[in-house]
């Protein structure tokens, strides 16, 4: 399978993630959409690293995929902390009703 096949899979994942974080009301659901999008980006990096390796280091793309995974972990931790704090305050995490900061 060529490069295009992998790119198409990642385009499908990106579209699903985008549908998710546009249409979900639950904050955790939006987070899951972001995870899908980040995964599709990492898949792109891996595919380009495999099919068109850079001249200096062959594994540059894989390094970036690792960084994406770590960034996703940091993002999930912070966002879940915020979601749990919002749930304690308002008893829900519906994104369209969380309209006031600090209160």
């Amino acid at each position: 399978m060529g490069l295009s096949a992998y790119l198409m899979v990642s385009a499908g994942l990106f579209a699903l993630g985008m549908i998710m974080f546009i249409s979900k009301k639950n904050t955790i659901g939006i987070l899951m959409g972001v995870e899908l999008v980040l995964n599709s980006a990492a898949l792109n990096f891996m595919a380009f690293s495999y099919f068109t390796p850079s001249k200096g280091n062959q594994l540059d793309g894989q390094i970036f995929a690792i960084f994406i995974i770590l960034l996703a972990a940091a993002e999930a931790v912070v966002a879940l902390g915020i979601a749990i704090a919002a749930y304690k305050e308002y008893n829900h995490v519906q994104a369209d009703e969380l309209i006031s900061l600090k209160g």
Partner: protein, 166 residues
């Protein structure tokens, strides 16, 4: 047909079907648990692309860590007993059309572009090479991201604890 192509097709169908379940399921908990299978299938792709270490990191950090966090978050915050509230979607048709049209644009671009393929990568152990790269060429991003992880951990604990004090 080669064996990797068969695996590629299997993982493609697997990932896209499970990701659709994640995106369109009306029960938040189902989405959270199905996300595990998506991440598992992505690890399969990484193995096919010659990234054994990245696949293991994906399994341990993503499937083992982030996804468990998401499942925790779902159980702690959502009204999971009432899926009609817990995972309400809105503007379904509009979003569906925008997502599909965006994917169509991407697919056309991928189809039309002539990618200049260099020599094909090889599937060989990458762990030692990645370790050298991370501690030589990418030492600064490595340190920055470890500091970011520390800050994220402390910050999220602070956010939750401050609310408890008030």
């Amino acid at each position: 047909m080669h064996v990797p192509d068969l695996f590629f097709m299997f993982f493609t169908i697997f990932v896209l079907v499970t990701a659709s379940i994640v995106a369109f399921s009306s029960n938040m908990l189902h989405s959270a648990f199905t996300l595990f299978f998506v991440l598992f299938g992505m690890a399969g792709f990484y193995v096919l692309l010659g990234g054994d270490f990245v696949a293991m990191v994906q399994l341990m950090v993503y499937a083992g860590g982030v996804n468990v966090l998401l499942i925790f978050g779902t159980m702690l915050t959502g009204d999971i007993a009432k899926p009609e509230i817990s995972n309400l979607s809105f503007q379904g048709i509009l979003t569906f059309f925008s997502g599909v049209s965006f994917m169509a644009v991407l697919l056309t671009v991928f189809e039309k572009t002539e990618w200049t393929l260099l020599e094909k990568g090889v599937r060989e152990p990458t762990t030692a090479e990645l370790g050298k790269l991370l501690l030589k060429d990418y030492i600064l991003p490595f340190e920055v991201i470890s500091f970011l992880l520390l800050a994220a951990m402390v910050g999220s604990v602070l956010i939750v604890l401050q609310r408890e004090k008030d």
